[in-house]
């Protein structure tokens, strides 16, 4: 028995799975994959001395554009169906991400021009975060209007120190496309090897 997974080209995060077969257009629709509630909200109240940046609202919603996605057939795995976001698509299998404790990896800051990923404040002394290997990054920012979307693909280079800044583009590799202030944005951050992160930010 096989299953079909839909995953992000850049970071290989599995975003959807089904026992049905078909091409991307049939499985997710022409406009892309509609996603909500990829990650839980912060504890309330947030423990003192903790700062991961703006929290999720639980209302985040995203339409991942079809060109950013791929479809693959893998042997059926019930765990992937139940918790797809905890797996990455490998060549011929789905690989589970390391366990998460609810902590967020990075602190998120959004400006009109870029999104910054910085070292979080956790009440502990955390040195600047750096990675021993390159990590692909996918960022999507959705305004309340369906056309108000920014899609950024980038890389956190190995041994780079925080903060990591990603300038906003309407589509990966496209010209810079700043966002307007005075609006609410839903932010999806996918870093290769880590669970999804989503936030709601009023700019």
């Amino acid at each position: 028995m096989m299953m079909t997974i839909v995953y992000l080209n850049g970071t290989h995060h599995i975003l959807a799975a089904t026992s049905a077969s078909g091409d991307a257009a049939a499985l997710i629709g022409q406009d892309g994959l509609h996603l909500t509630s990829l990650r839980g909200v912060f504890p309330s109240p947030m423990p003192a001395n903790r700062d991961y940046g703006p929290p999720p609202s639980g209302e985040e919603r995203f339409v991942i554009p079809s060109p950013e996605l791929s479809v693959k057939q893998l042997p059926f795995d019930r765990a992937v169906i139940d918790q797809p976001y905890t797996f990455l698509a490998d060549i011929s299998t789905a690989v589970r991400l390391p366990p998460s404790t609810g902590e967020r990896l990075l602190r998120v800051q959004l400006t009109s021009d870029y999104l910054r990923l910085a070292t979080p404040v956790t009440g502990l002394v955390i040195p600047q975060i750096k990675f021993p290997v390159d990590h692909a990054v996918y960022i999507q920012i959705e305004g309340l209007a369906s056309w108000d979307r920014r899609v950024v693909r980038g890389v956190i280079q190995k041994n780079d120190d925080t903060p990591f800044d990603f300038y906003l583009t309407a589509e990966p590799g496209g010209p810079l496309a700043p966002i307007a202030t005075g609006r609410r944005y839903y932010v999806l951050i996918m870093i290769e090897g880590f669970p999804p992160d989503e936030r709601t930010i009023d700019l």
Binding site: A16, G29, T36, S37, L38, V41, G58, I81
Partner: protein, 438 residues
């Protein structure tokens, strides 16, 4: 570079030389040869058959009288039957030890000086006043027949019969003989060897036009019983192409008729359509058979013997038999699709059902989704501080595009007590899509 053709002309008082008279003949002969060579294809026109007469364990072979046109446009007339000379064969030095070997029997045209001797008043030497258009029979070694096609070249365009002076003889294969090298006798004859056989005259044409509304192609001479015939005929409704067999008197027995109104008709009691040759296994084929009760229609894949595997068959009663699954739609039919899908996935339609059928109202969809059990805790739960979790589906369904939405509401209980922590995460559903044909 060739010479221009010269046509003799005469005037009153002209003293005619022999060359003038010869040119008159040569002009006409050359024109005829060019026509025969370039408008037609060379080969046997009539007769020239090898005929074997058994004599004990051997055969006497003769070549029947006949006519051929060689590749130079030369006409070769063999006016009488000719016995193949076994001594000539023996002298030809082509024999090999294999008694099954086939030796080509070859014919070529030859010009020879002939009588009567011209009467002259001078004391010059007597000269022949006729050219005898004779012929020569020869035998080739086994396999020589395959070499002829590559070595015999047509004369230059302006050349007449026989070609230029240095044009080699043009050999025509009449058939083949087998030879007993011990007894020095012919043992049998054959029409073909090494895929080479008797070649008959043809015609070069991009277009052949009939005038009486009927054009006939015969594979054999008329009245050859069983020989295939193709007839293109004008009919009151347009036209028809008929494949038929000769009935032995020159008449036709139609077998297959294709008409310009798109009808394909078989008079053999069957009609077979194949997507490949009869010996190609697995090629699709459709077959219409006449039976005592009416007829049957079958579709299938071809087996080794050229028969259909009969994947589908309809008999004269309208009974349908299929080897696979019926995917067609009929009123009241229900098609199902089931499986598991995560939030965001568009559920598939059952096999054979299209979005267009659903949109038109020809098919009604009934979709049931059941949220899957969410497990013990959210995937990113802080189990250190919130070791206890309860999850249940807060919503599950599909939108108008059959896109799944499924939300799991989680309650996490802090080890130190206090209000539980709320989280909502996407989930997965088991689904059943039922398509009912109206």
């Amino acid at each position: 570079m060739g010479d221009l053709i010269q046509r003799p002309r005469f005037f009153e008082g002209q003293v005619l030389a022999s060359t003038d008279l010869t040119a008159t003949i040569d002009y006409a002969r050359g024109e005829q040869a060019r026509h025969d060579r370039l408008v037609h294809e060379w080969g046997i026109v009539d007769g020239l058959q090898l005929i074997a007469t058994a004599q004990g364990g051997f055969v006497t072979v003769r070549v029947s009288a006949g006519l051929a046109i060689d590749g130079t446009g030369r006409e070769i007339v063999v006016p009488n039957d000719q016995i193949l000379d076994e001594k000539l064969f023996a002298r030809s030095n082509v024999a090999v030890g294999d008694p099954t070997a086939l030796y080509p029997v070859l014919l070529a045209g030859v010009d020879a000086a002939g009588l009567p001797v011209a009467a002259t008043r001078s004391c010059t030497a007597a000269q022949a006043s006729r050219t005898v258009e004779t012929w020569k029979l020869a035998f080739g070694a086994p396999g020589d027949e395959t070499k002829l096609a590559g070595t015999q070249t047509s004369p230059h365009v302006e050349q007449g019969a026989g070609g230029a002076v240095d044009q080699p003889r043009w050999w025509i294969v009449l058939g083949f003989v087998a030879w007993d090298p011990i007894q020095q006798r012919f043992t049998s004859i054959s029409e073909r060897a090494n895929d080479v056989g008797r070649r008959y005259v043809g015609v070069r044409a991009d277009e052949v036009t009939g005038q009486g509304g009927r054009l006939v192609l015969r594979a054999r001479m008329a009245a050859t019983k069983g020989a295939p015939i193709a007839t293109l005929a004008q009919t009151p409704a347009g036209g028809a192409l008929t494949l038929a067999l000769d009935n032995g008197t020159g008449g036709t027995v139609p077998k297959v008729v294709a008409t310009t109104d798109g009808t394909l008709e078989s008079d053999t009691g069957k009609l077979v359509l194949r997507a490949g040759a009869a010996n190609m296994i697995g090629k699709p084929m459709a077959r219409l058979d006449e039976t005592a009760a009416g007829g049957t229609f079958a579709f299938g894949l071809q087996d080794a013997s050229g028969n259909s595997s009969r994947l589908l068959e309809v008999d004269e009663q309208g009974n349908l038999t299929i080897a696979g699954i019926f995917r067609g739609l009929f009123g009241g039919a229900v098609r199902l699709a089931s499986g598991t899908a995560t939030d965001g996935v568009i559920l598939p339609l059952p096999d054979g059902i299209t979005d267009a059928q659903v949109a038109s109202g020809a098919v009604a969809l009934h979709i049931m989704v059941i949220p899957r059990a969410p497990g013990a805790a959210p995937y990113d739960a802080d189990l250190v501080h919130y070791p206890y979790w309860v999850g249940h589906a807060s919503s599950a369904g599909v939108d108008a595009l059959r896109r799944v939405f499924c939300k799991i509401q989680w309650l996490g209980f802090h080890s130190g007590g206090g209000a539980p922590h709320h989280e909502v995460l996407a989930g997965a559903v088991d689904y059943l899509v039922a398509a009912v044909v109206k």
